[in-house]
């Protein structure tokens, strides 16, 4: 199996898994779902890290990747923290 076909397989299957899992999330949690999935989309940070740290790359490439690291980190850190803040409000019950 070529690399491209393998990657496409992963892509399509992951979309199906996503559909299955997310249809079960109740409307009450749709806002935390959005901010949480936003944090997950900050996974771009992986690509940014690889490129920002690549020693042999041209300086321009590494600087662009560093800015990408900053953007994606905002997504990851901010996304998970704000989701946690919201979800705690849902789970802390009134006595």
């Amino acid at each position: 199996m070529s690399d491209l076909v393998m990657l496409l397989t992963v892509f399509v299957l992951a979309i199906f898994v996503g559909f299955e899992v997310i249809t079960k999330v109740p409307p009450t949690l749709h806002t935390p779902l959005m901010s949480g999935s936003n944090a997950i989309s900050g996974i771009t940070v992986i690509g940014a890290l690889i490129l920002a740290g690549a020693i042999d790359s041209p300086q321009v490439s590494r600087i662009l990747a560093t800015v990408a690291v900053a953007f994606a980190t905002v997504n990851v850190v901010g996304g998970f923290l704000v989701t946690n803040r919201m979800l705690k409000m849902f789970s802390e019950r009134r006595k």
């Binding site: 690399d3 899992v21 949690l29 990408a68």
Partner: protein, 514 residues
């Protein structure tokens, strides 16, 4: 240094943790655990990436530190009412990161003679840059419209002016500076032109202007053409930035014309794009964890978009390209509102005194008035008198999916008390008093009765079937749909004209005096 196989295995673990995160989101009890699982997955993926290969950490540390501080401060300080703005902004950051990673990867690949610039990488780079740029500029516009500084006529706060003019200035100067730095290349000059166009359009003080559809068409076709050129010659760097710039115009125009009522759809859609951009970036750098995480988010955004569209009985195409205005032959407001009855807090308190079952219907007005805590206090007071209180939540109430639920959760309303539209409607006839706080279109019975109305067929909460409806509203002004609401004038409806929070507090005082 870790072998590539170990790295890929850890990526697999991270991907499983992301799926568990979303799976555990299915219930408020397990959702906190889910979010932690996702964060753990992200930490593992980052750690294993840094431990593999030879890295120069200097730039990485700067990027991570800056991003982490901004993200943490934003997450801790944001008000729950401003959650749509924050999510909009974060969507944009995701899009920007994808564009920059694709750009960086292209430059690195072209510089190194050995690297692969095959068809997969070329197409993925184009997709990443295009979707990422549409997401970034679209999200900025969505943020600007939610924070009410873009496409508005009124006077702006100083911070709004700084952001609005600052952003336009940075885009214009950045693009002109780029053109000056790359002399002689025609795409670079077009980048400058696009930059000026974007910054100009962002300064327009209304959401629709003549020639908008033409710009939309030209930008879409131009983006397609430039995309083909980039695939043919990925080494032409100015061409890559031209693609980003043209896609940026498209993102701005597409989002600018979308009305306030459709904001939940747009935010959900941009959420989906930010995921798809990440997945495309995964194809650029041959990385499975990016592809899996990106497609999960893409799927999530698409599902939310569909739910929002259904809740407004509109197609996605109609939201993106259509208009929503008053129907052809709407009767004059005066005629409809002839029989409106205004009421006072004391009168409502008397009615509530005998009520067994009360339903509160919150809308965006409750968020604007920051009335969620007052509403909770009123509900507690009523429950103390033996009344059963529930909240009926319309899927598009507020400005993003689940907006009302978050606000009420912030006010310690237990989630069991929040009832979805489809569950509450069949029992609406047994409700003694329905209290509508800052909602309008989502309780407009015209959606059921008048097939020619702008909101015909949109599912609504049937408050008109309750024995008494109390509508708390500042005036009889129309909602986002711009049409009058005959509910306000019906026999069982009472209007309480006041600011949402003050009205609820007055009502609370009156109930306590009973």
């Amino acid at each position: 240094m870790l072998s590539q196989q170990v790295v890929n295995l850890v990526y697999l673990v991270a991907a499983v943790l992301f799926i568990l995160d979303l799976k555990w989101m299915a219930h408020p009890r397990t959702a906190v655990r889910g979010n932690r699982a996702g964060a753990l997955g992200m930490a593992l993926a980052v750690a294993v990436t840094l431990l593999s290969g030879r890295h120069d950490w200097s730039l990485i540390l700067i990027g991570v530190a800056v991003g982490a501080v901004i993200g943490a401060v934003a997450a801790m300080r944001v008000k729950m009412t401003a959650m749509p703005e924050l999510v909009g902004l974060f969507n944009g950051f995701g899009g920007a990161a994808s564009v920059l990673v694709a750009g960086s990867a292209v430059i690195a690949a072209v510089a190194s003679a050995t690297a692969d610039t095959g068809l997969q990488m070329r197409i993925a780079t184009v997709a990443s840059a295009f979707i990422g740029s549409v997401t970034f500029f679209g999200s900025y516009v969505a943020f600007g419209k939610l924070a009410e500084f873009l496409a508005v006529k009124w006077k702006l706060h100083p911070w709004q002016r700084v952001v609005k003019y600052g952003f336009s200035l940075v885009v214009a100067v950045g693009c002109l500076g780029y053109a000056a730095a790359v002399p002689g290349a025609w795409p670079a000059w077009l980048v400058a032109l696009c930059g000026l166009a974007i910054s100009g359009i962002l300064l327009v003080r209304k959401d629709r202007f003549p020639g908008m559809d033409a710009i939309k068409m030209v930008a879409a076709l131009a983006a397609l053409a430039v995309a083909v050129l980039v695939v043919l010659d990925p080494g032409d760097e100015p061409l890559f930035w031209l693609l980003v710039a043209v896609a940026g115009i498209l993102g701005v125009i597409l989002t600018l014309s979308i009305g306030g009522a459709d904001m939940p759809v747009v935010i959900a859609l941009l959420n989906s794009y930010s995921g798809l951009a990440a997945a495309a970036t995964g194809f650029v750098i041959d990385n499975t964890v990016l592809i899996i995480a990106g497609s999960l988010v893409g799927a999530s955004g698409i599902i939310l978009t569909t739910i929002m569209c259904k809740a407004m009985n509109r197609s996605l195409v109609n939201v993106l390209f259509g208009t929503m205005g008053p129907g052809a032959d709407t009767p004059a407001d005066d005629e409809i509102y002839r029989t409106v009855k205004a009421t006072t807090a004391d009168e409502i308190a008397m009615i509530l005194d005998g009520a067994q079952r009360v339903v509160i219907v919150p809308g965006y007005g409750m968020a604007v008035a920051q009335a969620q805590h007052a509403v909770r206090d009123l509900a507690t007071a009523l429950e103390g008198r033996g009344t059963n209180v529930e909240y009926a939540i319309h899927p598009v109430a507020g400005r993003m999916p689940g907006h009302m639920n978050v606000l009420l959760a912030e006010a310690d309303v237990p989630y069991e008390a929040l009832v979805e539209m489809d569950d509450i409607n069949p029992t609406m006839a047994q409700v003694d008093v329905a209290i509508v706080v800052g909602a309008n279109d989502v309780v407009n019975p015209v959606a059921r009765t008048d097939p020619k109305s702008a909101i015909a067929g949109m599912p609504i909460i049937d408050v008109d079937k309750a024995r008494t409806v109390v509508v708390i509203k500042r005036s009889l002004s129309p909602g986002f749909a711009g049409i009058p609401n005959p509910l306000f004038a019906s026999d069982n409806a009472l209007m309480f004209f006041a600011d949402g929070k003050k009205a609820i507090l007055d009502l609370l005082a009156a109930v306590k005096e009973l």
